[in-house]
Symmetry: C2
Subunit: 204 residues, 2 copies
């Protein structure tokens, strides 16, 4: 009875927090819904009421992790008004922050990063939503700067994100340890920056 009482008040947030802890302890492959239930002191049926499978649970944890750890700091950069008239620099600061965040988690929170990398390959919907959020951010930065005159800022935002994928997409994490990675990003960015300046001046 005690257990059932607890489960009634169990929120998705509690399940996600417990799942994160379990994932960090056992890793993605070895974490089971039962482990999460144990940590919360409920039956696994209680978890299944919120998440129908381990896959769904991992998706829920990833979505929340992306929201808290990636989208939140990037939203702050997007809204930062101190780049007025310096749209290109604002875009670079944003992409560099995205790269730094991904690298940081790949190194220091390996288990959750592995979960995220796995969900990225398997759950198109979650990742599509995340990518769309990043594109909205970039579009917002482009639109804040009156100097940019792109007829379709969404298309430009998408191209910027995709051309820098090697530096922030989790499938490339094994390449981020290369000693030349920063110099390589700098060169790709130089090319994009010239492209953005001149795509803007001419017709799109």
């Amino acid at each position: 009875m005690e257990k059932d009482k607890t489960s009634e008040f169990l929120t998705k947030e509690q399940i996600i927090a417990a799942s994160q802890e379990t994932l960090r302890r056992f890793g993605v492959a070895k974490t089971s819904v039962t482990d999460v239930a144990k940590l919360l002191g409920v039956s696994h049926g209680t978890i299944y009421r919120h998440y129908k499978s381990k896959k769904e649970l991992l998706e829920g944890v990833t979505a929340q992790w992306l929201e808290d750890e990636v989208i939140a700091p990037l939203t702050a950069i997007t809204k930062d008004q101190s780049y007025s008239g310096e749209g290109i620099r604002h875009l670079k600061v944003y992409i560099e922050a995205l790269i730094r965040l991904k690298r940081h988690y790949a190194e220091s929170d390996a288990e959750l990063f592995e979960m995220y990398a796995r969900v990225t390959q398997e759950s198109a919907e979650i990742i599509d939503k995340h990518v769309q959020h990043l594109i909205r951010h970039l579009r917002e930065i482009i639109q804040q700067d009156n100097q940019f005159k792109f007829s379709n800022p969404d298309v430009v935002a998408t191209a910027i994100l995709q051309a820098t994928a090697r530096f922030h997409h989790p499938a490339h994490a094994y390449e981020w340890l290369s000693p030349t990675i920063d110099a390589e990003f700098a060169q790709v960015w130089l090319l994009l920056e010239k492209g953005l300046l001149h795509l803007d001046q001419e017709r799109e």
Copy 2:
């Protein structure tokens, strides 16, 4: 005795051909050195004399596959003299061919493509050699065109390859089925093209 005689004359090429056949039949995970030996009618010790492990064998097969299926057709494009004065178009034709080849094998030769994707993540040396070959090709195209005046063509070649990684790096194969992938490449290329034109006119 008969078997020992055969093994004496077994070339790396024969082992690689038999490995490809075995990989296509059983898949990467289920292929063993013993399967390859069986197909050749030799003992597995004979294979181990050439390749010390399954990992080494997969690396050998991948290196050969990349050479025959990717580098050979791209070398022909690189040497093609019909793009005289049209360096940008030559670069685009090259990158589009690279994309087409990768997509073709991801779709129609899934087992060998999976092997290649796996080796890409696990065997830095093989893949580094392959990437360096692609960069040499791009540099050669840049140097054929007198209009380009980059002080460091290698750096520009590397940036072009990396900025288009999403469209040809095997880790992104699951994204290539998207109905918008071609339009997305076109936009990334437009940005790079503008960048190349203006990186060239100004200082690097």
